[in-house]
Structures are given as C-alpha cells and as structure tokens.
C-alpha cells in the first residue's frame, strides 16, 4: 500500500502531475472574489472566512477526478484490483495521496492568502487548524465520489454534483470555526465536529469507495 502512495506522489510531482495546481486554483479563486465583489476591506473581512473555505473546497473538488480516472484509463485499476492489495486499502491510500498533494499545501498556504481577503488577525490560527482538521475529510469524501463515477467518460462534473452536497457539513463547521475565531468566540464545538467528520470518513468511506470501484470494474 505504501508503494501505491509513493507512486501517486511521484506521479503528482512529475510533469503534468497535479501537485501545486490545487494550490494555484485556490489562489486564483481568492483573487477572483475581490474582483467580483469589489474592493471594500470591511466587506471582504466579513466574507473572508467563508470564502476561504469555499475556495479550499472548490480547489479540492477540481482535482478529484485525477484520483481514479487516470488509473482507470490506462488499465491500472483492474490490475490493482487483482493484486494482493485490498481494494479498501487502495481507496484509503488514494485519499491520503490526494490530501498530501492538495489539502496539505492548501492548509499551509491558506494563512498567507488570508491577507488578500483582509482576514481578521485573530482568525489566522483557526483558519490553519480548521483546514488541517477538515481537508482530510474533503479528500476522503472526494475519493468516494471519484470511485462512484470512475467508469463514466468525463464523470468530473457529475462527480462535483454528487460530492458537493456531501461537503456541506465540513464546509459549515470549517467556516464557522474560522468565523468564531475571528469574533473571538470558542471554536471547540465546530472543530470537534470537523474532527468527527474526518475520522468517520476515514473509517467508513474506504469501504463504500471500494464497493463502488468493484461495481465499476465489472
């Protein structure tokens, strides 16, 4: 299973791989928002926590279709399915690899980008913490969505449709944690909920994802 993780990370950093592009997309959404909404600093401060989380979510979403589609197209997936690796493990590793190439860089960069949206100073640490706790859930839920749509040609957009409603709780608790941080309130509850979602996703969704993969490989 570690071999799979290593390969996926190697592929991500090679030419044409996805590393850094999720981050770039995140940056661009953050840049577009002030262009669309207008430059008033007070307004931006108000919407910053929510928009940062929405941008993170969209960036995660946009790279989901890489998770299985490439392996499906070049025939790796049936070969992995008939290999000694359990398919649940494959799904789990795919989720981890997606997080390492998307969620992790995004989490590290988000505080630096917060200032583009004039995020209030008390919120930076909570932005970092909430993304660190919440983005793994985004990756794992996305892996499930990718597994559902892997057989379909360009299932990418359909996958977005399936995955986005599943992202709602993560988004709400994540943005709420940052907003409370910005207002100086306690962030314990939303962070606990986020942690719960992440743990639950990693515990259960690999099984759902591998079931979907098995059906799609049929």
């Amino acid at each position: 299973m570690i071999a799979l993780l290593k390969r996926d990370l190697a592929l991500a950093v090679r030419a044409g791989g996805g590393f850094g592009l999720g981050l770039a997309f995140f940056l661009i959404v953050i840049v577009l928002v002030p262009l669309g909404v207008g430059p008033e600093a007070a307004l931006l401060t108000l919407i910053a926590p929510g928009m940062l989380w929405v941008a993170a979510l969209l960036a995660a979403l946009l790279s989901l279709d890489r998770i299985f589609a490439l392996d499906f197209e070049d025939g790796s997936l049936p070969l992995l399915a008939t290999s000694p690796l359990p398919l649940e493990g494959v799904a789990l590793m795919k989720g981890v690899a997606h997080w390492a190439t998307t969620g992790l860089p995004l989490t590290l960069a988000a505080p630096a980008l917060g200032f583009l949206l004039n995020l209030s100073s008390t919120a930076y640490v909570w932005l970092f913490v909430s993304l660190a706790i919440g983005t793994p859930a985004l990756s794992m839920i996305g892996t499930f969505g990718a597994a559902l749509t892997v057989g379909l040609r360009r299932g990418g957009l359909l996958m977005s449709l399936l995955v986005l409603p599943l992202y709602v709780p993560t988004l709400i608790f994540g943005a709420e944690a940052v907003r409370r941080g910005a207002d100086g309130l306690s962030t314990t509850t939303p962070l606990l909920m986020l942690a719960g979602i992440t743990l639950g996703s990693f515990a259960l969704l690999p099984f759902a994802a591998s079931a979907a993969l098995r059906v799609n490989l049929r």
Binding site: L161, P165, L166, V168, I172, E176, P190, I197
Partner: protein, 242 residues
C-alpha cells in the same frame, strides 16, 4: 408464500395494476375534499390572513419529500442485500416524485415567505436543509441517468443513497448549528403540529397529508411499472440483436 414473490417484475405488475387506480382515486378524492375544505371552509388566521391556507400544500409536500428519500433508502438496502430488481427500480421511480415534492415545498414556502417574512428566501435552517435535500435528489437522479448498464446504475445509486443519507442527517445538524442565533424572528413554523394549530385547520390538513401520501404511493407504483416495462423492452431488444 413469501412477500418476496412480489419482487418478481411480472408478479409485481399483475398485482399492482388493479390496485393503482383505487389508490389514485382515493388520494384524489381526499385531496379534493381536503383542499376545498381547507381553502374555502376554514376561517383566515388572525395573524397570517388567508396566506395560512398554503399550509395544505406546503406541509404534506414537505413530509412526502422526506419520506420519499426514506423509501429510496430502504429500497436501496433491499436491492443491495436481496438483489430484487423491482426494489432498485422502485428507488429509481421514487426519486423524481420526491424531487417534485421537494420543489413544491420549496415553491409554496417561497410564496408563503413573501407575505410572511417579506422575502422569497431566507437562509433559515429548515429551508436550507431542504435545499440540500433537493441537491441530493438531483445528484442521485443524475447518477442514474449517467450510467448505461442498469444493474451497475442500481448498485452505485444505492451506495450513494446510503452514504448520502448519513450526510443529509449530518447536514441537518450542521445547518441548525450554523444558523443559531443569527436569524431570529423567522423560526419557520407558526405551529409545530397539534399544539398551536386548531382542529378546524387540523382535520383538512390531515386529509391532505394522507392524500399526498396515497398520491405518492400511486405515482411510485405507476412509475415502477413503467420502469419495469422499459427494462423489459431493453432486454427484449438486446435478445433480438444477439
């Protein structure tokens, strides 16, 4: 004889075809009586005026919207465990009915909200979670449509329905949490059921709810039969080619 015999497509059609007109007739009768009673023979509410009467559409539709998802969930589980095609097709048939119910609830709510809250839409927890439910329906139906092979589609949509249900419940709690203390004054229901609704509203309301329930049942039975026939045509065509 076990109940699962009705899961045979042919048996299902022969059993339900004679029942459907009765169910449909009864539901229409109940709805006609309930709605007429509700619209014309109940007094206006002292605070809400005549707009209160939209409740006879709004509440039953909202209830059925949620129940339709439950039906899909149960049908999906049955398909995954026992692999009865009728079950999968019933889930498929329930989705469009459910999404229409969701839409009716949303639209009547919006129409109601305009005089009540002065806005068509507010991000109240209840409304928000309904909008999310609408998205779940949309995704579920899109997945059915996107997959060529029927059994594959049934398997995948069932998995989605189960995972989706968990997340729908989670969303409900999240939404409640999110809107806490932010949106006073618009806590939707004037009435939570029996307590603050007087009998004079209540009896026609119950009639409408039962009427909607039967209508849902009739539509799902009819649509399931249609789906079965479509599958049958597809199967026969496939055989003729092969």
């Amino acid at each position: 004889m076990s109940i699962w015999e009705y899961a045979n497509p042919k048996k299902f059609i022969t059993t339900t075809t004679p029942i459907v007109p009765w169910v449909l007739g009864l539901s229409i009768a109940l709805l006609v009586v309930g709605l007429t009673w509700g619209f014309f023979f109940t007094p206006d509410d002292f605070r809400q005026g005549s707009t209160v009467k939209i409740i006879y559409l709004h509440v039953p539709a909202a209830l059925m919207a949620i129940n339709a998802w439950f039906v899909m969930l149960i049908a999906s589980l049955i398909w995954l465990v026992r692999r009865h095609h009728v079950s999968a097709l019933a889930a498929r048939a329930a989705a469009p009915v459910g999404i229409v119910m969701t839409l009716i609830a949303l639209i009547t709510g919006a129409i109601w909200g305009q005089p009540m809250w002065g806005t068509w839409w507010a991000w109240d927890p209840r409304l928000t979670s309904f909008l999310i439910l609408f998205l779940f329906y949309l995704g579920y139906m899109a997945l059915w449509e996107a997959i060529e092979d029927s059994d594959t589609a049934a398997d995948l949509t069932s998995v989605l329905c189960i995972v989706g249900s968990v997340f729908a419940v989670l969303s409900r709690y999240a939404v409640n949490f999110w809107n806490q203390g932010l949106h006073q004054g618009t806590t939707v229901p004037v009435a939570t059921g029996e307590r603050s609704i007087s009998d004079i509203f209540f009896v026609p309301l119950v009639m409408c709810m039962v009427g909607f329930g039967l209508l849902f049942l009739a539509l799902v039975l009819m649509r399931t039969a249609t789906e079965i026939r479509a599958r049958r045509i597809k199967a026969l065509e496939a055989r003729m080619r092969g």
